[in-house]
C-alpha cells in the first residue's frame, strides 16, 4: 500500500497534457504533484532509492556497468521484489533481515520509511540488460548463454565493449557463436558506431542464418538505419524477404498445429457426448455444464492442495483429473437416475429436460462460486513454448493434444475390451435381448451415462488451462460438441475424431483468410449443407436397427 501511496504522490513531469482540456473550463489540478528534485546523485544506489523512474533506470544501468558482484545481488533482489529503498540507499530484504545493498553489511531491521523500489516495464527492460551484462562477466556458462540471448534480443550499442572483452576471454570459447551473434545484432542496431562494410555484411549474414521473428525484427530495423552502408541495408532488406518466405512456409505448419490443437479441444469436449448421445441416444444439453463442473473441480483441487499439501502444488492438475472424472461422472449418474431414465426412447424430451438441468447447474455454480471467473493456474511445467524447426509449439496445447489422444485411446479400450464396454454395446444394439441375457440394463445405462459425464469432467480439466472457468463455460462448448458428434456420425468415435479434425483445422485454416467469425459461419453453413447431403454424418452407423 505504501508503494501505491508513493505512486500517487509521484507524478511524472511528462510533457503530454495537450488534448485533455477542450470542453470544460480549467479545473484545479489533481493531487499536488511532487516534482522530484533533479540532483546529481552520489552513486547508483542513491539513484535507485529515488521514486523517479528515470533515476532508477540510471541507477540500474550504472550497476550493470559497475561489474561488481554486489551489484548483481542488488539487481537480482530488485527482480524478486526484495529491494527496498529509503534514506537515499537501498536494502536487500533477506529471510533474516535487511542488508545494505551498497555495503553488503547488515542494516537495522527497521522497515519504517522504506518502500520497495518501483518497477515498470522500462525498468524491467533495463534491469534485464544490466543483469545480462553482469552475468556475462560473473555467471556460469549457462547463465552467460542466457545473458547473450538477452543482449541479442535487446541490442544496446553500449554493450559492444563488454562483448569484445568477453570475446577476448578464453573461458568463453564455447560461447563464441552466441557472442558473435549478439555482437552482430548490436552492429545492426541504432546507435552503434559504423564498422567496415564487410563486417556489416557478415553481421547481416549471421543474423539471417538465425531466422525467426527476432531476426526478422532486427533486420527490418537495420534495413532502414541510415548510419549503415547502403549495401548493408539492401542486404538486410533481402534477408528480411528471405526470412519472410521461410516464415510463410512454416506458417502453414503453424496453422496446422493450431488447427490440430483446436481439434483436440473439440474432440475432448465431444467425446463424452459421443457416448451419451451416440451410444445411448440421450441428447444431453447439460454436457457443457458437466465440463464446467470438471473445471471447477480443478479449481477446488488446486485450492485444497495449495492449502494442505503445498509440496504437491505443481501437480494439482494431475490430481484433479481423477477427481474431476469422479465428480462429473457421479453427477452424471445422479442426473441419469433422477431424470434421464424416465425419458429413454424420447430423445427430444431428454434434450429439453437436460437443458433444464444445465440451467440449474449454471445457476448453482453461480450461487456457490459467484458469477465471476475463478483463477486456475497453469503449472510451470505446462507454461511457455518451444521451437520445433520454425514451428512454435505451446506446451499446454501440446499437452491437451496428447491428453485427447490418451482419453480417446482409453475410451476405445473401455468400449472394446472391458465387460462394461461389452454390456454397453449389447444394450445399445438390443436392449431387450441384453436384459434377457442377464445384463442389468439400468445399471449399464447409469454407468454409460456416468462414463460420458466423467469424460466431460476430464475435458473440463483440460479446458481450465486455456479458457475461462466461469458459470458460462459450458455454453461455449455445447453447440460445437454436438456439431462434432453429428457431423462425424452418431455412435462412431472415429467419426467424431475426423469431424473434430475437419472443424478444427478447417476453422484455423480459414481464420487467416477470412477472419475468425466469417470462418466459423462458413464452417457452420458447410456442416449444415453436408448433413443435408449425408443425414447421418461422415461415418454413419449401418445396420437394421438404426433406421428410424
Amino acid at each position: 500500500m505504501r508503494k501505491a501511496l508513493l505512486a500517487l504522490a509521484f507524478c511524472t513531469a511528462l510533457a503530454c497534457q495537450p488534448a485533455y482540456a477542450q470542453e470544460a473550463p480549467a479545473l484545479p489540478p489533481a493531487a499536488p504533484s511532487v516534482a522530484a528534485p533533479v540532483q546529481t546523485p552520489a552513486d547508483a544506489y542513491t539513484d535507485m532509492a529515488s521514486t523517479h523512474f528515470d533515476a532508477i533506470i540510471r541507477g540500474v544501468e550504472r550497476l550493470g556497468r559497475s561489474g561488481e558482484a554486489r551489484a548483481l545481488a542488488a539487481l537480482q533482489a530488485l527482480e524478486a521484489h526484495k529491494l527496498l529503498a529509503g534514506n537515499d540507499t537501498v536494502y536487500i530484504r533477506t529471510d533474516t533481515g535487511l542488508v545494505d545493498a551498497r555495503t553488503g553489511q547488515n542494516a537495522p531491521a527497521d522497515l519504517t520509511g522504506l518502500h520497495p523500489v518501483r518497477l515498470n516495464n522500462r525498468v524491467r527492460q533495463t534491469l534485464a540488460s544490466a543483469r545480462a551484462e553482469l552475468l556475462l562477466a560473473q555467471g556460469t556458462q549457462a547463465e552467460r548463454r542466457d545473458a547473450l540471448a538477452q543482449i541479442q534480443a535487446h541490442p544496446d550499442a553500449a554493450m559492444l565493449p563488454v562483448l569484445d572483452k568477453a570475446l577476448a576471454d578464453p573461458s568463453n570459447k564455447s560461447l563464441a557463436g552466441s557472442l558473435n551473434a549478439a555482437r552482430a545484432a548490436i552492429l545492426l542496431s541504432p546507435g552503434a558506431q559504423p564498422v567496415a562494410l564487410s563486417e556489416q555484411l557478415a553481421a547481416v549474414a549471421a543474423i539471417k542464418a538465425q531466422g525467426g521473428l527476432a531476426a526478422k525484427s532486427l533486420l527490418s530495423r537495420a534495413a532502414t538505419l541510415v548510419p549503415l552502408a547502403p549495401q548493408t541495408r539492401e542486404a538486410a532488406g533481402k534477408a528480411v524477404a528471405s526470412i519472410d518466405f521461410r516464415l510463410k512456409l512454416w506458417g502453414y505448419g503453424q496453422d496446422l498445429f493450431y488447427g490440430v490443437s483446436l481439434s483436440s479441444v473439440l474432440l475432448l469436449s465431444a467425446m463424452g457426448l459421443a457416448i451419451t448421445f451416440g451410444v445411448m441416444g440421450v441428447i444431453n444439453m447439460a454436457h457443457g455444464e458437466l465440463m464446467m463442473v470438471g473445471a471447477y473441480t480443478t479449481f477446488m483441487v488446486e485450492r485444497l492442495v495449495a492449502a494442505y499439501i503445498p509440496a504437491l502444488a505443481p501437480f494439482s492438475l494431475i490430481l484433479a483429473l481423477p477427481v474431476a472424472f469422479v465428480v462429473s461422472g457421479g453427477l452424471g449418474i445422479l442426473i441419469e437416475r433422477s431424470v434421464i431414465r424416465f425419458l429413454y426412447g424420447r430423445p427430444l424430451e431428454t434434450l429439453l429436460a437436460s437443458w433444464g438441468v444445465s440451467l440449474i447447474l449454471q445457476q448453482a455454480i453461480r450461487s456457490v462460486f459467484g458469477p465471476t471467473n475463478v483463477a486456475v493456474t497453469t503449472p510451470g511445467w505446462l507454461g511457455g513454448s518451444f521451437a520445433l524447426g520454425g514451428l512454435e509449439i505451446t506446451t499446454v496445447r501440446l499437452a491437451i493434444f496428447l491428453f485427447a489422444i490418451a482419453v480417446m485411446a482409453a475410451l476405445t479400450l473401455v468400449l472394446k475390451r472391458t465387460p462394461l464396454g461389452l454390456h454397453m454395446r449389447a444394450v445399445t444394439q438390443n436392449r431387450r435381448m441384453a436384459a434377457l441375457m442377464g445384463i442389468r440394463t439400468a445399471r449399464v445405462d447409469a454407468l454409460t451415462f456416468g462414463l460420458g459425464s466423467g469424460i466431460a469432467g476430464l475435458a473440463g480439466v483440460a479446458v481450465s488451462q486455456i479458457d475461462n472457468v466461469s458459470p458460462n463455460l459450458g455454453q461455449g462448448y455445447i453447440i460445437d460438441s454436438f456439431l462434432v458428434v453429428v457431423f462425424g456420425g452418431v455412435g462412431n468415435l472415429w467419426g467424431s475424431l475426423a469431424a473434430a479434425l475437419a472443424l478444427g483445422i478447417g476453422g484455423k485454416g480459414l481464420e487467416p483468410l477470412i477472419g475468425a467469425v466469417s470462418g466459423k459461419i462458413l464452417l457452420l453453413v458447410l456442416v449444415i449443407l453436408f448433413i443435408q447431403r449425408h443425414p447421418r454424418g461422415m461415418f454413419p452407423m449401418r445396420g437394421r436397427g438404426i433406421e428410424s
Binding site: V339, E349, L352, W355, V490
Partner: protein, 374 residues
C-alpha cells in the same frame, strides 16, 4: 397418443386474446386517475407476450403437428424483427443523433457513406413488409427443402436448426454486416407517421397484435383441423407409411415449415414495434429452446397450449426476475424438468381431463361443418 382435431379451445382462446388485447388497449387510454387505467408498462408487456405467443404457435405447428423439434425458430422471429427494425430505422430519418437523413446513426459513426444495397426499399412500408415476411419464408423454404428432401430428421434436424440460428447470430453480431452489430437497431421514433411512444399508438399496436394472434390462431385451427393437419400428424408418427400412400412427406413438411416461419416472422415484426429494439441476441439458440418449452408447458399439438404456455412462462419470468432474480434460472430449469417428466401434455393435458365425457360425443370431421359443406 390421440389427437383431438376439433380444437374447440382454440376458438375461445382466439376470442379471449382479441377481447383482452382490445380491452387493455382501451383501458390504457383512460386517464391515469381512473381506477381501470392500465399503465403503458403493462401494455408493452402484454404486447410482448402476444408476440411471443405467435412464435410459440409457430413452434407448435412444426413440433406439435409435424414432429420437427426446431431449435432455431428464433431465427425466423429475429429476421422478421430485423425487417421491421430496418423500416423503423429508416423512419427515424434526419431525426437521428447526427441528423443524417440517409444513414442510420450506427452507420454514421462507423463512417459509412452509403447505405448497403440490402437496405434498399426499407424506407417503404409495403416493401419492408414483403421483405420481413419474405426473407424468413425464403430462408425457411431453402433450408427445409434441403433438409426434408434428404430426409434429415429427429435430432439431426434439431441440431442443424440450432446451427442455422447460431450462424445467423454470429453473422449479425458482426458490425461489418450493416445491421448495427451487437447493438442492433433501436431508437425508433414512429411507424407510418404515428409516434411509437404515444399511448394511442401503443394501444393500437397491442390491439393489432391481439387481432393478428387471434386470426393466426383461427387460421391454424382451420388448417390443422382439416385434412392437412391430420396428414401432418400421420407424417409425424409414421412418415414412411405416407409415402406408400403416394404422399410426399417432404413437401408436406416443407409447407408447414414455411408457414410456421412466416408466423414467427410476423411475431418478430410485432415484437419490435412494441419493444423498440432488435439485436443479434434474438438469434441466440437459447431463445429458440425457450420457445420450445413454452409450447411444452402449454401442451404441444393443441394450438391453445402454445398461446397459454408463452404467456404463462413469460409472465412467470417477468415476476420472477423482479421478485427473486437469483432464482429465475432455477425456476426455469425446474420448469423444463417438471414439464418433460410430469406434464407430457402440458397445461392443456391437465385441463383435458375435465371435459373428457363430452369428447366422446364428438365425431371428428363427420360432424364437422366441413362435412355439411358438400
Amino acid at each position: 397418443m390421440s389427437t383431438d382435431f376439433s380444437f374447440r379451445s382454440a376458438r375461445w382462446t382466439a376470442l379471449a386474446v382479441v377481447v383482452l388485447a382490445v380491452v387493455l388497449a382501451f383501458a390504457s387510454l383512460l386517464p391515469q386517475s381512473s381506477a381501470l387505467s392500465v399503465s403503458p408498462f403493462v401494455v408493452t408487456l402484454c404486447g410482448k407476450y402476444l408476440s411471443y405467443a405467435l412464435l410459440a404457435l409457430a413452434v407448435d405447428l412444426v413440433w406439435g403437428f409435424a414432429g420437427i423439434l426446431t431449435l432455431g425458430h428464433a431465427a425466423f422471429f429475429a429476421l422478421g424483427a430485423y425487417g421491421m427494425g430496418m423500416y423503423l430505422t429508416r423512419e427515424i430519418g434526419a431525426r437521428g443523433v447526427y441528423g443524417n437523413p440517409d444513414l442510420p446513426d450506427f452507420m454514421v459513426f462507423l463512417s459509412w457513406h452509403r447505405l448497403p444495397w440490402y437496405w434498399w426499399g426499407s424506407n417503404h412500408f409495403a416493401i419492408s413488409l414483403a421483405l420481413m415476411l419474405g426473407v424468413p419464408a425464403v430462408l425457411a423454404g431453402l433450408f427445409g427443402w434441403l433438409a426434408f428432401r434428404s430426409r434429415v430428421s429427429g435430432v439431426y434436424l434439431s441440431i442443424i436448426t440450432q446451427a442455422l440460428t447460431y450462424a445467423l447470430m454470429l453473422a449479425f453480431f458482426q458490425n461489418g454486416m450493416g445491421f448495427g452489430g451487437n447493438n442492433g437497431l433501436t431508437g425508433f421514433k414512429d411507424v407510418l407517421g404515428f409516434d411509437l411512444t404515444a399511448p394511442g399508438t401503443r394501444a393500437t399496436l397491442l390491439a393489432l397484435t391481439g387481432l393478428i394472434l387471434g386470426a393466426v390462431l383461427m387460421g391454424a385451427r382451420f388448417l390443422m383441423g382439416g385434412r392437412y393437419g391430420r396428414l401432418l400428424v400421420a407424417v409425424r408418427d409414421t412418415e414412411s407409411r405416407t409415402r406408400f400412400l403416394a404422399y410426399r412427406p417432404e413437401q408436406i413438411k416443407l409447407l408447414v415449415w414455411v408457414v410456421s416461419a412466416l408466423i414467427a416472422a410476423l411475431g418478430g415484426a410485432l415484437y419490435v414495434l412494441q419493444i423498440g429494439i432488435v439485436n443479434p441476441g434474438e438469434f441466440a439458440p437459447a431463445n429458440s429452446i425457450e420457445a420450445v418449452i413454452w409450447v411444452a408447458v402449454g401442451g404441444r399439438g393443441t394450438l391453445t397450449g402454445a398461446v397459454i404456455g408463452a404467456v404463462l412462462v413469460n409472465l412467470g419470468k417477468t415476476l420472477f426476475t423482479a421478485i427473486l432474480p437469483e432464482f429465475w434460472l432455477y425456476g426455469l430449469g425446474a420448469l423444463f424438468l417438471a414439464t418433460t417428466l410430469f406434464l407430457p401434455h402440458g397445461v392443456m393435458g391437465l385441463l383435458r381431463h375435465v371435459p373428457r365425457k363430452r369428447e366422446e360425443e364428438v365425431t371428428p370431421e363427420i360432424t364437422n361443418p366441413e362435412g355439411s359443406n358438400a
